[in-house]
Amino acid sequence: MTVDDVELRALVPRVLSVLVRRGADFATAEDAVQEALVRALSAWQRALPADPTGWLITVAWRVFVDMTRSEAARRDREVRFDTEPPAGAVSSADDTLHLYFLCAHPDLTSSSAVALTLRAVGGLTTRQIARAYLVPEPTMAQRISRAKGIVSRAGVDRPGDVRTVMRVLYLVFNEGYSGDVDLAAEAIRLTRQLATLADDPEVHGLLALMLLHHARRRSRTRPDGSIVPLADQDRSQWDTRLIAEGIGIAQAALARDQLGQYQAQAAIAALHADAPRVEETDWVQIVEWYDELLRFADTPIVRLNRAVAVGEADGSPAGLAALAEVDEHVPRRDAVAAYLHERNGDLELAARLYASAARNAPNLAERDHQTRQAARLNQRLQHHR
């Protein structure tokens, strides 16, 4: 009987929070839990223990005691911990939630909080995290070790809160490369777990948002990695099970009438996912949701996306008018301007803007996509001449 890696990792936050509750310091306890995971992977090949969580807690505690003993011996101090764990210390949902908060501590940089969350809450190894972010393993090890130090020193009194945790999970979902770990799936798994711990409609909004985007993943890129825009995606490839789940979660959250930015974004994603054909997209309602979203997150990126929606709902001149109010320096502005000018019939300007969008593209896939768009229009213009 073998153990599923994801099932094993799902036990990590509980195990770690039990150790911390028993008085173990966070940094050492986290190392001990990782070591217990490694031992579980080989020990459980033969037989799965009756109580996997209990097994992990016992082994992690022994590892922790050994680590503390050798550390204490080095410092020539007395051993402070018994091998047998103190009775009665069990982990509650609040303890696990507290662990999330620690890993999203406000003193941590975003990249440190992301790495620490993936390791201490997600149970990923340093090597897996390093591969996902394309940095050398020693660099990632150092980043995690420093983050643990910061949390240990500053942590317990003033941890992060559910907002900072959501921001970290959103970053995990949105950024990073696939090594042997699917970061988007990992972000969804952790957000699901968070949703059972913190009864906040925004957490449900974030989960719905992730599910709805994840549902479209297969159709977003071609096998060669090139981008397929939303309008051109093969909607039969969308995962209807994930869409149904995402819409259900979003509606239940919205019904609680405590709107926030993630719920508004989920509502927009739901309206896209709900349209069987792109022509059936309810752009008027999408613009209304962007107006709601602006109340919570008035950023140039939201305004830029709103301009696209306005262009679809009220025609490209209205979209261009909305675009005129968007900060000149926001990434992808040229791409949106090109699209709206093309729809408006100004092909020459659109071609120039697509070429400019290609020059300023933030990644290769987008650069290639915008270059193709420019080439497509320039070819049409040549035929007209």
Binding site: D224, G225, S226, A351, Y354, A355, A358, R359, N360, P362, L364, R367, D368, T371, R372, A374, A375, R376, N378, Q379
Partner: protein, 135 residues
């Protein structure tokens, strides 16, 4: 084995033979170029000669320290004339000849009209570790 850096420039290299900006190519020529670049890296990976390849944004500034308590100086009078690197590939190959051969293959990437671009690429050897036997 020796490591070499293959450098591609946005600006600063001599003009290539087939010098048409990419947005003026036909869409399928763009596709063919992108496919060539991807296949090239894939081929070097399977031959065990590829280390890494990265592309750079054309945005960039020169920066220098401007003294205690002062903000750094960015850019300078040469912003428009500076050499502008577009990206690189690091390879680990048996010989200088092999590095040149691979750079030439890369320079033959198809461009406008499906014809090779004949782009100038810079090949730079890395300084190596000192060898064990020195006499």
């Amino acid at each position: 084995m020796a490591k070499y850096l293959l450098l591609k420039h946005y600006r600063g290299a001599p003009a290539p033979v087939n010098n048409v900006p990419m947005d003026q190519w036909k869409p399928d020529e763009v596709d063919a170029h992108i496919r060539f670049m991807r296949d090239f890296a894939g081929r070097l990976e399977s031959s065990g000669e590829f280390i890494e390849g990265l592309a750079l944004s054309p945005d960039g500034v020169w920066v220098r320290y401007d003294g205690e308590g002062r903000p750094p100086v960015t850019d300078g009078p040469f912003a428009e004339t500076k050499d502008l690197i577009a990206g690189w590939m690091v390879i680990d190959v048996d010989s200088y000849e092999r590095a040149i051969e691979l750079a030439a293959e890369l320079s033959a990437a198809p461009g406008a009209g499906g014809e090779p671009i004949h782009e100038w690429l810079e090949v730079r050897p890395f300084l190596a570790e000192p060898p064990t036997v020195t006499q």
